[in-house]
């Protein structure tokens, strides 16, 4: 009954999105206010219907209604409640419903808070959103109905994939989707602006918060996924350049570029058509990510159970959505009036350089991800592209990007003073040089890691110097500095935090890839071994019982008295084994232990890692997310303010 209610709500929602995608468009073209306002109501009704459907799905999962195929395949009566609920989106069909729900939430948000937007623009944005929603509704209803029944109903379910039974993964997909779908809002704004034929700073004021929100969520989602693979897969790594990881990373790169170019549109009214193009590409890449993940065309460690017909449908959506938008762009972009001029050496120039480098980086990732597919189609054999490719392409592009990221904030708008900026950056240059030499001295002659640490010091120090200059630290009285610090806009703090986070992240990435130590050996209870100067003893291996699994739990003790208890779990229902790594972090390095198979007589296969600065990777990502959130809270970006100013503008007009 609940499932049927959910399906019914979904079908109604699909019909509403059809209306939302057409009526306001016609209304905007014919200047009929009632037809345009219809979009607002449609967006709200859409949200109510999709929320009802999603609620129904969660309800059948919570009550373990195994007559619903999805529940039977992804849940079990023994699953803890968190994973029963997470099971609702831990699969293809449910995650699509989550996608549509987030889309509906954003649509309703535009409808509620977008009163300051010109009526035609708002109607068109909501219409484009309706059309995106229609595409996904059609996808869901034709190929992936989440409410399909199973007859006869099994007595119990097949349980959520044990690897996914983890808090990190319960929240990873919703975060990632917030990001993907947030980019759809930027896309809708871009397409609506193309239909309108005009882009002004007010448009950018609207696009920027959405992009920022999407970027923040995407950052958090990718970091959560990476963190999960670090401790759950037990491979000791946190990034594998896997196609599915790349699929989320490419939109992130483009969203980062979009974030920076939208600033230029807002502040200087320049780079308009480029920003529009970026918004289209960013959403296109997130659609392509969906296609890659769902269609199974690429081999990946993630490998969703996939279905070619689904892939075809997403490919069709991609072609219509992105192809259509690009055609529209080709027709309308030349008519967009160019804005403020600027010299190559200027804030705009630095931001444009950022955009060029980020796009090139995304292009190399794109090439590496899709090359095996092209080669396979061309009959060139089956190949895989691994980390060495990305190390020799992606990483070199990041070097000038980081150099520029530190210098950019020191340049003025329109015309910058490079020599002056360089003089103000002497402290950062010194820090970079010291970090470089220190690395070479401490860790031996290896130029790559030394450059990495130098860049991290350069960016981190430059960011702090920039902040210190803004508050006149040590140049004015302490009280004056404090007053200035308090009055600094939150967006400025957001940028500083995000750049600082990037510096910390680079240090973590560099150190953990260069100086990771690994030991694989067989140990019996009582054996000791040594890694990175620490003696570690396996005290015992004991069976333990969880809510839906049994496990062998090892107990390691280091000489400093730290305990590590990794587990090797066997889940009862699916009979799968998962590895739960034990990680002991002191903020500077992680000690990481995994227990493999074995027995008391012959000993156990044990894998130990010493991972320097891995905690900094998570800290860096956290700083970036905090920077994004802080920036979102900026007064200028608050949706109420643009409404007021825009209303004032229309009143004046």
């Amino acid at each position: 009954m609940i499932a049927e209610l959910g399906l019914y709500a979904l079908i109604l929602a699909a019909l509403v999105s059809l209306l939302q995608g057409t009526v306001p468009l016609i209304g905007a073209a014919r200047r009929r206010l009632a037809w345009m306002v219809f979009a607002d109501h449609a967006a709200l009704v859409q949200l109510a219907l999709v929320a009802l459907a999603f609620g129904c799905l969660v309800a059948v999962f919570v009550t373990s209604d195994f007559s619903v195929r999805l529940v039977a395949a992804n849940s079990h009566s023994l699953n803890p409640m968190l994973y029963k609920i997470a099971g609702a989106w831990g699969n293809h069909e449910g995650s699509l419903l989550l996608w549509v729900l987030i889309l509906a939430v954003f649509g309703a948000a535009v409808a509620c808070f977008g009163n300051g937007l010109p009526a035609t623009l708002k109607a068109r944005v909501l219409a484009v959103q309706g059309l995106i929603g229609l595409g996904f509704h059609a996808f869901m209803l034709t190929t992936s109905n989440p409410f399909a029944r199973l007859d006869p109903a099994p007595l119990d379910g097949n349980e959520l994939n044990p690897l996914l039974q983890d808090p990190g993964l319960a929240f990873h997909p919703p975060m990632l989707y917030l990001g993907y779908v947030g980019l759809s809002v930027s896309y809708a704004f871009a397409v609506a602006a193309l239909i309108e034929g005009r882009v002004d700073p007010a448009w950018a004021r609207w696009v920027r918060p959405w992009t920022l929100a999407a970027w923040t969520a995407l950052t958090a989602g990718i970091a959560l996924g990476s963190w999960w693979s670090y401790y759950e897969l037990g491979w000791g790594g946190w990034w594998f350049w896997d196609p599915v990881e790349n699929a989320s990373f490419m939109p992130w790169l483009m969203a980062t570029a979009l974030l920076h170019s939208a600033t230029v549109v807002e502040k200087r009214d320049a780079l308009k058509s480029w920003t529009i193009l970026l918004a289209i590409i960013a959403f296109g890449l997130s659609l392509m990510g969906t296609f890659l993940v769902r269609s199974g065309v690429l081999t990946s460690v993630h490998a969703f159970a996939s279905d070619p017909s689904r892939g075809l449908f997403v490919l069709m959506l991609l072609t219509i959505g992105i192809g259509g938008a690009l055609v529209l762009f080709a027709i309308r972009a030349p008519a967009l009036a160019g804005g403020g001029l600027f010299q190559p050496i200027s804030r705009e120039g630095a931001l444009l350089l950022n955009n060029i480098l980020l796009s090139s980086a995304a292009a190399t990732v794109f090439l590496g991800t899709l090359y095996p597919l092209f080669l396979d189609i061309a009959g060139g054999g089956t190949v895989s592209v691994g980390p060495p490719y990305y190390q020799s392409t992606f990483v070199p592009i990041m070097v000038p990007l980081i150099v520029a990221a530190a210098a950019g904030p020191f340049l003025g708008w329109k015309r910058g003073d490079l020599l002056g900026a360089m003089q103000r950056l002497w402290l950062a240059a010194l820090a970079a040089f010291v970090a470089l030499l220190l690395t070479l001295w401490l860790r031996g002659i290896a130029i790559g890691p030394a450059i990495g640490m130098g860049l991290a010091a350069w960016l981190g120090c430059a960011t702090l110097v920039e902040w210190a200059e803004r508050v006149k630290l040590l140049r004015a009285s302490a009280r004056e500095s404090l007053r200035r610090a308090r009055n600094l806009p939150r967006a400025a703090y957001g940028m500083s935090l995000a750049h600082l986070g990037l510096a910390v992240l680079i240090a973590g990435v560099t150190a953990s890839s260069a100086w990771k130590e690994e030991r694989v050996l067989r140990m019996k209870a009582g054996d000791s071994t040594e890694i990175a100067g620490q003696v570690i003893t396996l005290q015992s291996v004991d069976p333990v019982v969880g809510p839906n699994y049994t496990a062998m739990q090892a107990h390691f003790v280091t000489r400093r008295g730290a305990d590590l208890e990794p587990q090797r779990r066997s889940y009862w229902v699916q009979g799968t084994t998962t590895t739960e790594a034990a990680i002991r972090s002191n903020g500077v390095a992680d000690l990481y232990a995994v227990i493999g198979e074995g027995n008391g007589a012959e000993g156990w296969v044990v894998r130990l890692y010493h991972q320097p600065l891995v905690p900094w990777i998570w800290a860096g990502a956290l700083l970036m997310v905090m920077g994004g959130l802080l920036s979102l809270a900026d007064r200028r970006l608050r949706v109420v303010v643009p409404r007021r100013t825009a209303a004032a503008e229309t009143a004046r007009a």
Binding site: P344, I356, A363, G381, V385, E597, E602
Partner: protein, 149 residues
Amino acid sequence: MSRKRRRLLWLGAALFALGSASALGLSALNDTLVFFYSPSEMETKHLQPGQIVRIGGLVEKGSLATSAEGQVSFRVTDLRRTIPVIYRGVLPDLFREGQGVVAQGSLGGDGVFTATQVLAKHDEKYMPPEVAAALKKSGRWQEGAEAAQ
């Protein structure tokens, strides 16, 4: 500088960046591509010693053995040809005899494949597409499906 010239300058810079990125990418692809072969194909390809490749097939039943030092050995088969593999390390959680596996490493002069990486998939119902293709090529796809049960 006129608007047009400035735009041309930026366009040039963008093209240069994109061009060098793709040149970098394509040359790196040449050096870092890892080819995938089935055990049957391995026989016909005369690989240079030490060349990194991926092999894939089913883990032959009853072939898995572990030595005292934690070295694992097993055989990968496409049900026509079989290659012995040795690997130091913890096998992935979904590694099973009779199921699909992909191993990356190099073939030694003695015909033993030394793996540096062993991949099995998150989802145990899932067959790596390369393995399925390799089994189809060797004409044993049906039997392969049974063997995997």
